[in-house]
């Protein structure tokens, strides 16, 4: 069967992705940790993994440079690219929220116009638009929680996992926009032109997710 390419994200979701690939039997435990290569064939040669920046990942898949990919739902929502989202991989849980400084969180709705700093300008704009609330988006690439403290923005829209960063920066959550986990996505042409090989990978990863879920709950 032909080799299928799967793009996996560096950063937050990398560890969970590799553990899932190990559970599915594509890599020996720890095998990937000994290399710094960006393209890695699996032990059985059935797949090869390329490690991509999370923000670029869906682009690889949409254009077919990679048949499959692992991406956070947060990225899928923000980039709205044309890919098939097939499996909830179950790890990388986080929430997309709006937060304000503790001092102004009360009555934030009254403020107009609102200035919100975020790494997710599209999601944020859609949210406030659906609420009928005018908003000025300040698009940032990191350390979003800094913005309200220095007067760059009134509040932020960002991901939270434990809420610790929010608390440390005296920010209070006021609304939840979405919940996110890692998802398996597929290129629309690969799903057809390499159907068998792609479906085989999807099935194996689905089974790995179920197995890992059983281990966690059992």
């Amino acid at each position: 069967m032909e080799t299928v390419t799967i793009a996996i994200p560096s950063g937050r979701l990398l560890e969970g992705t590799l553990q899932t690939l190990e559970t599915a039997g594509y890599f020996a435990p720890g095998e990937w940790r000994t290399t710094r290569r960006l393209i890695l064939p699996s032990t059985d040669g059935a797949i090869r993994c390329l490690i991509a920046k999370p923000v670029d990942l869906l682009t690889y898949v949409e254009y077919g440079a990679s048949d499959l990919g692992v991406a956070g739902k947060d990225t899928l929502l923000e980039q709205a690219q044309d890919v098939y989202e097939l499996v909830d991989l179950g790890f990388g849980f986080c929430r997309g929220i709006v937060a304000f400084p503790a001092a102004t969180a009360e009555g934030w709705e009254a403020k107009s116009p609102l200035r919100i700093a975020t790494k997710y300008p599209h999601v944020t704009e859609r949210y406030f638009w659906s609420q009928g609330r005018p908003v000025e988006i300040i698009a940032m690439h990191g350390s979003v929680e800094l913005a309200p403290q220095v007067g760059l923005a009134d509040g932020i829209m960002d991901l939270v996992m434990t809420g610790r960063t929010l608390a440390e920066n005296q920010l209070v959550e006021v609304a939840e926009l979405f919940r996110s986990t890692a998802r398996l996505v597929v290129n629309r042409v690969s799903l057809r032109s390499r159907a068998e090989a792609v479906q085989a990978v999807v099935q194996r990863l689905r089974a790995a997710v179920a197995q890992r879920a059983a281990v966690t709950s059992g």
């Binding site: 899928l76 709205a80 097939l86 042409v189 690969s190 799903l191 057809r192 032109s193 159907a195």
Partner: protein, 423 residues
């Protein structure tokens, strides 16, 4: 080096050099010629339409991806993002009384606003056709068969057409018996191909198991066993009707001799608003995006006041070219013609005679010496170089050998000289 504005072109647009233009033209004319043989006649519509016309045809969501401009009288115009709506407008106005069915083809540039850096073109060529006024399976079969021939005529080597039906998806969604707003959500999730979200929504509502299973199995419902598998999964009459339509289509496409290039694929998901019946896409393994797309759209013409069914497809010419790995060959004319002082009239007559015989001929216009002209031309692959000298012609061949022949033998294609040129 800093580029000045006058050295740049807008994001998402392209200049095509002679070789590239020739390839685009070749693909477009190849496809149009194939359509012509099936009785499809080409129409031309304006690049600019009233915004209202485009939004009327395609729905208000289309407005976000239009390039708009304001006419001096204050009317809002837009560059067409595809041609089907324009053809529908044309048919519903100027061809309202024409005998049906109408077989129309088109070729032209279309424009869509795209985010900078998305790698997507904002202007690209489309060639397509529409079969209007026939709501039969026969008409669907003709369009799918023609789509196969169009990709073959475009020079795509290995390709396949994936054939689905929006009626299948509609029937599955309807069979869930969800409340209206949830149904819209489910449809939106399906359109976004978000099967994770769809599963979550359906589990929340405890919808009918067979419909849920069929919906979630969609990405695998393709290939020779797809129809049987779908039949097994859902026992609803609306679903069975769609599946028997597809089975009928398969029989016809076998008769057309194109079934080898077609795969039933119930997971083909295209715009729900627009399409009403079969939907299909053309793919090749070398490219991650479809080469063509189309289907049946029986409600579009209704919006323009004539309730005629219609079916059609459009080919993405630039994608066909990027799927083609052969690349462009070099180009050079068949002959260059230079002349000595006083022989201009004879040389131009000679060039004209050769062009009339279908050859590509470039006449020397820079006043260079014969050796300069001939060396440069032959070095870049020109067939032969000619020097007209009164009533005789010096012919230099690619290998460098020269001979002198009568002008008349060259222009009229006489005897031995004619045989040489035909080689």
């Amino acid at each position: 080096m800093r580029l000045e504005r006058w050295q740049q072109i807008p994001t998402g647009t392209r200049d095509l050099l002679p070789d590239e233009t020739a390839r685009v033209r070749q693909v477009a004319t190849g496809v149009l010629e194939r359509m012509r043989r099936w009785g499809y006649r080409e129409v031309t519509t304006p690049t600019l339409e009233y915004l209202d016309v485009l939004v009327w045809g395609e729905g208000s969501a289309a407005g976000d991806q239009l390039f708009k401009l304001v006419d001096r009288g204050g009317e809002i115009l837009a560059l067409r993002p595809e041609m089907t709506t324009s053809v529908a407008r044309l048919v519903a106005t100027r061809l309202r009384t024409a005998p049906l069915p109408l077989r129309l083809a088109y070729a032209g540039q279309v424009f869509r606003w795209r985010e900078a850096g998305s790698g997507r073109l904002r202007e690209f060529p489309q060639v397509g056709c529409e079969l209007i006024g026939a709501g039969t399976l026969e008409a669907d079969a003709e369009i799918v068969a023609l789509a196969v021939e169009a990709l073959a005529a475009a020079g795509v080597g290995q390709f396949s057409i994936s054939l689905g039906h929006v009626g299948f998806l509609r029937a599955l969604l309807a069979g869930l018996h969800l409340p209206e707003s949830e149904l819209e959500d489910a449809q939106a999730l399906l359109y976004q191909k978000d099967f994770v979200g769809l599963r979550a929504l359906l589990e929340r509502h405890h919808a009918d198991a067979s419909h849920v299973n069929a919906l979630l199995a969609l990405p695998t419902l393709r290939g020779p066993a797809a129809l049987e598998e779908a039949q097994r999964l859902v026992d609803a009459p609306e679903v069975q009707a769609v599946l028997s339509d597809l089975a009928g289509l398969e029989r016809m496409l076998r008769a057309y001799g194109v079934w080898d290039a077609v795969t039933v694929d119930l997971s083909i998901i295209r715009d729900f608003e627009y399409y009403t019946g079969i939907v299909f896409e053309g793919h090749t393994a070398a490219l991650g995006v479809p080469l063509l797309g189309g289907g049946r759209y029986d409600r579009l013409l209704e919006r323009f006041g004539v309730s005629w069914p219609a079916t059609g497809f459009a080919v993405r010419v630039e994608r066909v070219l990027s799927a083609d790995e052969s690349g462009a060959g070099g180009w050079a004319p068949d002959a260059v013609v230079a002349f000595e002082n006083g022989s201009r009239d004879a040389a131009l007559a000679c060039a004209r005679a050769l062009r009339d015989r279908g050859l590509t001929v470039a006449v020397e216009v820079q006043g260079r010496t014969w050796d300069d002209v001939a060396d440069e031309a032959l070095a870049r692959g020109t067939g032969r170089a000619l020097l007209v000298r009164g009533q005789t012609v010096v012919v230099r061949e690619r290998g460098g050998e020269e001979r002198t022949v009568a002008l008349e033998d060259v222009t009229r294609g006489h005897g031995e000289e004619d045989a040489r040129w035909r080689r």
